[in-house]
Amino acid sequence: MLIYLALASVLFVIGLHGLFTARNLLRRLLSLNVLTTAVFLLLVVIARKATPLDPVPHAMVLTGIVIAVSTTAVALALVERIALRHSPEPEPSASTRPGEEDA
């Protein structure tokens, strides 16, 4: 089990790193997903360590996975609209940073 715990920590850190250093919006989203998966992994390892096998973290992770898909979908829809706004050219780019102008 130790190896999965280490894996969870490393994935968490990779997600963290990506979230803070990536410029591209989509990449940040991917990092966030990696981060969340790391947390799920920890929960499942905890369930696995318990005797007997604990169903509650499994249910929590299932709930979490569906929530993660929903938030990813919302985030993707947002990213698309932002990318569209910043480059109406045929080749929209996600790496444009959102402007700081005010309403």
């Binding site: 968490f12 997600g15 979230l19 919006l25 940040r28 989203l29 966030l32 981060l35 969340t36 790391a38 947390v39 920890l42 929960l43 905890i46 360590k49 318990a50 604990d54 509650v56 973290p57 929590m60 709930t63 979490g64 929530i67 929903s70 938030t71 919302v74 985030a75 947002l78 990213v79 609209r81 932002i82 706004r85 959102p98 402007g99 700081e100 102008e101 005010d102 309403a103």
Partner: protein, 498 residues
């Protein structure tokens, strides 16, 4: 089922049902929303009455008891926040219904406002009663998605802000969930009152506590994790800004308070308390300073949220120093008064900005004909934010100050005074600009806007919006009167160790 239980069930389920109705029948959405807003207000009052009358109680959802099932705790604080949500929600609903945004001119798609708004409300209600760490995670995500949808509604400029908000809060939830996972691995329980008995203060507990705290600090936009807040709150529609600044941010602080005075009570050493207090101090000073420097009214109000929540953070050092009960009631009253007055500010600002067709502080002078009521509401709310007697802000800060004096923590007293002065300074800038007869620099305004400087006479729609703002501001004042008798109710909180 008692009346209190019924009220709580209505509070949790009615907004969701109404949201679905609004989604399925967009043409009926306004009616449905206003009716359910009024019902929710009534239900919140019934719940508060029940708590005041019979004391706090638990409701085991599904009939399953603590370690296995999810529990709701309905106590004084929860009811106060439910009431706050109901007040801001009702006022915001009236404000938005009165605004009558034409679909052709709206930057947003008006069909989706009501479902998102009601879902946000329902999520917040579910959050305030929940006593289960994982259920709180789910409700937090619920609130996040609803907030993001609402922010993104107000046009393309807001989408970038919504994105930053989404990313920050999702990150916050992941970190929070990591903390929850560690706690679960340690004691196999998620229930807050249960954990208050069971969670030991060891390495795992400390790691979990710091993770949960970081996650909630991000969601609560506590300094220095406030970077996402100003543009998100400033760019949304007025009612959305109101509920985000007044309630959503408060929810994060509420959870923080419940967690630290509950399961993490033993970890709340003077050092930990001071660390959290220093974050609050940073928020008060830095947020206040930035608010002072803002040129746009809504941005200024948004930075003021960062600053005001800093006051609430003083709960932790003062509780660690021993004045728990007084600090708790003080912080909660500040939270409530801030929620009401900040929402009033945003709603009033919505009218003011619409009237002047500009959000710049130095463009707010000149003819105020027709929006006097809005300025009155703004001034009342400002008085409460500053903490002038007899407003709620005054009572809350007074109790915090007393707690500081009682526990001999004078530096925090100094911070309270400094923060109050800073608040007065930035709010005075706005009121002063309003009193001026004309904008100082005519040339800085576009001609088209200058032509409208006279402003239009108040329409019924304006009046409805202003009354909503005024109601909230009066509520902030009323908290000042109601707080002393209700103090024992406010400090009834299940799972909190004094």
């Amino acid at each position: 089922m008692t009346a209190g239980d019924a009220a709580v069930i209505v509070l949790v389920s009615l907004p969701h049902a109404a949201a679905i109705a609004g989604f399925v029948w967009p043409s009926r959405a306004v009616t449905v929303s206003l009716i359910s807003a009024a019902t929710l207000m009534a239900a919140a009052l019934v719940a508060m009455h029940a708590v005041a009358g019979y004391g706090a109680w638990r409701h085991d959802v599904g009939g399953w008891e603590a370690p296995l099932g999810i529990g709701w705790t309905i106590d004084g604080v929860a009811c106060a926040l439910l009431l706050l949500t109901a007040a801001v929600g009702l006022a915001g609903s009236i404000h938005h219904a009165a605004a009558r945004v034409r679909p052709s001119t709206a930057a947003h798609d008006p069909r989706y406002f009501w479902p998102l708004w009601l879902f946000l409300w329902g999520g917040l209600n579910a959050l305030f009663v929940s006593a289960d760490l994982f259920n709180i995670f789910v409700t937090l995500e619920f609130v996040t998605v609803a907030s993001v949808g609402l922010i993104a509604l107000s046009g393309r400029l807001a989408q970038a802000a919504a994105w930053r908000y989404l990313l920050a809060t999702l990150f916050g939830s992941s970190v929070y969930l990591l903390g929850v996972a560690l706690i679960y691995g340690r004691v196999a329980a998620l229930d807050l009152p249960f954990l208050a008995q069971a969670l030991p203060a060891d390495l795992v507990g400390m790691t979990a506590a710091s993770l949960v705290t970081i996650g909630l600090l991000l969601k609560g936009a506590v300094f220095p994790l406030h970077f996402w807040l100003p543009s998100a709150h400033a760019r949304a529609l007025p009612p959305v800004s109101a509920i985000l600044s007044g309630v959503v941010v408060a929810a994060a602080f509420y959870l923080l308070a419940r967690a630290w005075l509950g399961p993490f009570r033993e970890l709340l050493t003077p050092a930990a308390g001071t660390a959290l207090g220093l974050l609050g101090a940073g928020a008060v000073l830095w947020g206040g300073l930035l608010a002072l420097l803002q040129r746009h009214l809504k941005r200024m109000i948004a930075y003021s949220t960062v600053s005001q929540l800093g006051f609430c953070m003083l709960l932790f050092p003062l509780a660690a120093a021993g004045a728990t009960q007084l600090a708790w009631t003080g912080a909660m009253v500040v939270l409530l008064a801030h929620g009401l007055s900040k929402a009033a500010c945003f709603l009033a600002a919505g009218v003011i900005v619409r009237h002047h067709r500009s959000g710049r502080v130095d463009a707010l002078g000149g003819c105020q004909q027709g929006i006097g009521l809005a300025w009155f509401a703004f001034a009342l709310a400002a008085a409460s934010l500053v903490g002038l007697p007899p407003t709620g802000g005054f009572v809350g800060k007074w109790w915090l100050a007393q707690a500081a004096i009682n526990s001999g923590a004078y530096p925090w007293l100094a911070l309270l005074v400094a923060g109050t002065l800073l608040t007065a300074a930035y709010l005075w800038r706005v009121l002063e600009a309003a009193i001026r007869t004309g904008p100082p620099d005519e040339a800085r305004r576009p001609a088209a806007i200058a032509a409208h400087r006279e402003g239009a006479p108040a329409t019924p729609s304006d009046r409805g919006m202003m009354i909503a703002a005024l109601g909230l501001a009066l509520g902030a004042v009323a908290v000042g009167a109601a707080a002393p008798p209700l103090a024992p109710v406010l400090s009834s909180a299940i799972g909190v160790t004094w």
